[in-house]
């Protein structure tokens, strides 16, 4: 193999599994260390720069970082990254003086944002400090989008939501709330320099089965029902509720039903329990509230008596894998299952909908009615129109909407500056040696062996009776500290200088996880087998040095490195050293004016 090019920012970024997995590339270990030092406001700002809504995401994020966390590969469970983020938000002091200043003198560019959800607000946050004027259109009378309408208050208290929305709104936005945009043509006619569409995926899917028409009064789609609950248009539901679907919306629907008078609430899914799309922790929370999940039940019809919905019929199925490796659901032949119900909530998916965008504006749509976007610019085929969040690539999560917002804001800025949209600035990387003394580092490498700490919950008797009472209490400072010590500090990189190595094997001997080998160079596949411990996880790179005195090379398997720094502590020549690589993706503000 060729020596690894560690000057490539992506190389060490990839080693920080959590940050790499985060769509917004939040520097996770950096803020976890700040939390350990009780520097909550600093930790909050690291988050705010990257993900804009730390308090909201610290409660609701889909956490792509956690399955990626290295801790999960050397121990049982990842670090509770998401809930530590919440700690930063919960314990910070007033951070308003740390927010970027908004120039009084504007730059003369005017941008329209359609939909006041996470994507649009991210665009606004990134462009306002550059002097842009922003007009924000929102159908609802208040901002927040899915963060307000789709996430129940017992998971995200109103004050947390409002606080973080206002950090952006208070930067000075022309808010046109309660105004449903019905024509893109008229928006474009207003002469905006760019238009950003962040309208989400607002259409809930119905399950059109026999009896649908008669049952309509007691049928709901998940997202519309949740929105109605959020705006207090709906305040009760029948005693027996069936929630169809296995995603996070279904979990929110069933838990909300329990709080609105549902006594027997069940979740029913077509496929197996293991195939449910909802995050495992959301399923756990639903089950903890005594909500059964019935799997392998395919809905067949709504049962109507006296013109009213009284139940649903399901066919029982089992899973089989056919010869093409595809999963099939085969009827078991058992008697149909009848489940009595007063209400049914269909949480089986949602769709994009752009009836308000005229098709003669040069904005092309694909066969799934999604806008055709140019690469990663989030720019549509009309160069002035950009899309982000669910409206760009279909239903996804908040953190991905934020990531889209960052990229779209950068694109809009480059467009307004008349620069090439594909000539995007490199990430901002800060490299710092961590050596303090012979065997002392400026980070704590004495990681804890403890298992993941659980977040305390409020008593079920209380939370089920108050729809606004937050279920999770969050970590207290002590628990948070204990959890931070589980973080392996993957951003503190092991940097190897081959010219300094005397091949004494000290690093090989001390490495707790057998990551380091000195061996003859070979092709990657051979090398992976030749190491002290085989490197079987091909998603993780090998760090390979140039030839050493003996002609051998150093090959380090990044997969299981604990970043404990013992290799560098034992290295007599500092051929190994620990460097912190702090990486932030480039935002609009980082684009160089030409």
């Amino acid at each position: 193999m060729k020596p690894t090019n560690i000057a490539d920012p992506n190389y060490f970024h990839k080693v920080v599994d959590c940050q790499w997995a985060c769509p917004a590339h939040t520097p996770v270990p950096e803020y976890i260390r700040l939390i350990a030092e009780k520097r909550y406001s600093d930790a909050y700002m690291v988050n705010w720069q990257s993900n804009v809504f730390p308090g909201i995401l610290g409660r609701t994020c889909d956490r792509p970082c956690e399955p990626a966390c290295r801790r999960g590969r050397v121990e049982e469970e990842p670090v509770a990254i998401c809930r530590l983020k919440r700690v930063a938000a919960d314990y910070k002091s007033d951070i308003r003086d740390r927010l970027p200043e908004i120039p009084k003198k504007k730059n003369g560019k005017h941008i329209a944002l359609i939909g006041a959800g996470p994507a649009s607000l991210t665009v606004a946050r990134n462009l306002l400090p550059l002097g842009y004027e922003i007009t924000l259109y929102e159908r609802d009378p208040v901002s927040g989008g899915a963060m307000r309408t789709q996430i129940p208050r017992f998971r995200l208290p109103l004050e947390v939501l409002e606080e973080e929305l206002h950090y952006v709104l208070d930067m000075g936005i022309n808010c046109r709330f309660g105004e449903d945009v019905t024509s893109m043509k008229s928006i474009l006619a207003e002469g905006y320099d760019a238009v950003f569409v962040g309208t989400g995926a607002p259409l809930g899917k119905w399950l059109d089965l026999p009896g649908h028409e008669e049952a309509k009064e007691n049928l709901h789609t998940g997202i519309e029902w949740l929105a109605s609950v959020a705006f207090e248009h709906i305040e009760s539901i029948g005693k027996k509720v069936l929630v169809l679907g296995g995603g996070n919306t279904a979990m929110d629907c069933c838990r909300t039903s329990k709080r609105l008078g549902g006594e027997e609430v069940s979740v029913v899914v077509r496929s197996g329990f293991d195939e449910m799309k909802a995050s495992p922790w959301e399923i756990e929370d639903a089950i903890a509230e005594d909500i059964p999940v019935l799997n392998f039940h395919v809905p067949k019809r709504y049962i109507i008596e006296n013109g009213k919905l009284v139940g649903m019929e399901f066919e029982k199925v089992r899973k089989e894998i056919d010869e093409n490796g595809r999963r099939q659901l085969i009827p078991t032949g058992d008697d149909p299952v009848i489940l009595p119900c007063d209400d049914v909530i269909c949480a089986i998916g949602q769709e994009n909908s752009f009836p308000w965008i005229e098709r003669d504006l040069g904005i092309e749509f694909d066969q799934w009615e999604l806008p055709t976007l140019v690469n990663s610019r989030f720019q549509s085929t009309n160069e002035k129109v950009f899309f982000g969040g669910d409206s760009a690539l279909g239903p996804d999560n908040i953190i991905r909407a934020v990531a889209h917002g960052h990229e779209a804001a950068l694109s809009i800025h480059l467009l307004c500056e008349k620069q090439d949209l594909d000539d995007r600035p490199h990430p901002i990387m800060d490299i710092q040696g961590q050596k303090m003394g012979i065997h002392q580092w400026s980070y704590s490498n004495d990681i804890s062996a403890d298992l993941r700490y659980a977040v305390p919950h409020a008593a079920k008797e209380q939370t089920l009776n108050d729809i606004n009472l937050e279920v999770e209490l969050g970590f207290d400072e002590q628990l948070a500290f204990e959890e931070t010590k589980r973080c392996l500090n993957c951003d503190i990189q092991t940097v190897f200088t081959d010219k300094l190595c005397i091949e004494c094997d000290a690093c090989v001997d001390i490495c707790p996880t057998d990551c380091i080998s000195f061996t003859q160079n070979a092709e990657e596949d051979t090398l992976r087998k030749d190491l002290l411990a085989p490197a079987e996880n091909k998603e993780q790179d090998l760090y390979v040095s140039g030839a050493l005195t003996t002609g051998r090379i150093m090959a380090k398997n990044e997969d299981l490195c604990l970043h404990c720094g013992l290799c560098a502590e034992r290295c007599p020549t500092s051929a190994w050293d620990m460097h912190k690589y702090l990486l932030n993706t480039a935002k609009a503000v980082d684009a160089c004016p030409k």
Partner: protein
Amino acid sequence: MSYIRKPKFSHPGLQTNDLGLTRRDYEGTLTTLCGGCGHDSISAAIIQAAAEMSLEPHRVAKISGIGCSSKIPSYFLSKAHGFNSVHGRMPSVATGANIANQDLHYIGISGDGDSASIGLGQFCHIVRRQVNMLYIVANNGTYGLTKGQMSATADMGSRTKSGEEAQFENIDMATLAIELGASFVARSFSGDKKQLVPLLQAGLSHKGFAFIDVVSPCVTFNNTDLSSHGYKNTWENYVALSDVDFVPMRDEITTNYEPGEEKDITLHDGSVIHLHKTDDSYDPTDKDQALGHISKYKKKGKIATGLLYINQSTSDLHETQYTIDRPLNSLGADELCPGNGALNGINDTFR
């Protein structure tokens, strides 16, 4: 020294041996030697050798004298027996322990100061007595613990870190051991575990006195380009007489080599030392050839390593002394005090 404990997390694919233990279970406390000390690699090699052989840690005794080398036993097999004895007196303690309980594996660890200077007399006699043990000298050619004075194994012409030149003929520990009748003599290098680990395993399986002289550079006080015992000089000048594999008794030999390229030596316990790519048809059972080779390489400034000499026909101390073949701690009062009749019988033989 490092301030933190080694994290307990290990590679999830770490192999377990016949006892269900992994290599990590054979570790000792975290080293307090200088980072880069060859001695740490010797500990690591012993850990690997013992784990692969499925040695029961509590059936091993580690005995050492004084010096950096003699700290090594702390850093491996923390569940084994240990005795950190007086300077240069490890051989006496090892001999006594071995006489008392011949069922244990004895690993004696010493350095060039401990064995070639203050303990040279003790060393000579334990070799002569053929105590059944593995005797390792971690040889760095310097007194590291007292900050870098020349030791008796420093090659003539080699210089200390402060620039002093070695003016006396050095003591070649391997040559001495062969001369004095050691039945297993090897030399290796701490940086080359591929060679050191099978040699340690062979030494542990050998019945009789097994001696391994391990060049183990002192990274702090004797690692300059002008030192014969530094990493650079050793990497450049060590010559392996053959590649060594150790095949434990229970395993079948699966590797096939071209005829003439290999040489198998079956030990008393049935395990096999497999030598291949042997340098000019070197015969490690020929004492004179062994001594000649060491000397020949030394003249060229080279360090001959590998299995230098083996003789499986000698008797160990218990055999020559007709001792009881059970550990003393397993004997009952009747055996230990056989009574007046037995005493009279012995006395009669002197009349």
